[in-house]
């Protein structure tokens, strides 16, 4: 597979279903051998918080799936440092290992990819 995909998560979990359907897409892409890079920016960084306790009736605890990303060979996970700062968060608040980058450097990573989808 020659074209690379960047999946951008910019919305918070639970209130909208973007996060869950974005993660489904990322996993499917990896399953089909497409190189996929994940980005968490703006409210999207809230998806990665540790210790989320979703209301059981709302469905499966999708954020637990983040820890499986590495088994799908999705290791390029970038978080916007400024988005964290603006929300009084630190990398240590997040449930998986990520690379936090200042906007300019994160944008450089974005610019390398062939297709970008945002959720």
């Amino acid at each position: 597979m020659t074209k690379t995909l960047g999946v951008i998560n910019s919305t918070a979990p639970y209130g909208v279903s973007n996060g869950q359907e974005s993660l489904d897409l990322a996993l499917a892409s990896a399953n089909f051998g497409q190189e996929v890079t994940l980005f968490f920016i703006d409210d999207g960084v809230f998806q990665l918080l540790k210790s989320q306790q979703p209301i059981p009736e709302q469905g499966k605890h999708y954020s637990k799936t983040f820890s499986a990303l590495t088994f799908y060979d999705i290791d390029d996970i970038y978080v916007c440092q400024q988005s964290l700062n603006e929300r009084s968060l630190e990398v240590s608040d997040l449930c998986i290992e990520v690379t936090a980058l200042p906007p300019e450097q994160l944008n450089q990573q974005l610019a390398q990819l062939d297709h970008l989808m945002r959720f």
Binding site: G6, I8, S10, I41, D42, C80, Q82, P103, E104, L106, N107, Q108, L110, A111, L113, D114, H115, L116, R118
Partner: protein, 104 residues
Amino acid sequence: MTLHIVSTSPFGTTLFEGVFQRCSKNDGIMLIQDGVYALNHVEVYRQLKELNLSLGIACFALEDDVVARANQVKSAGVDSELIRCISMEDFVVLTLDFKATISW
């Protein structure tokens, strides 16, 4: 080089701040649907001007959406050199001038 396609009004959201944060040198901004209301937003319009000067960000607006909203670029006091009103076909061509697009 990325074309940022913005379809949301800048009023009442911080979406445009997010878009501006993602802009690199020579990226483009394409205003469609309610995104064209950026032409009425004094602060966002000022930032578009600034990004144009500092990073060479070109800004376009989908003419049909501008006209539909009675948001004539002229009457809004917008510099038509800075924000170019383009047709849907121009928009198609524009997407090919950039490596990828992000829809906001």
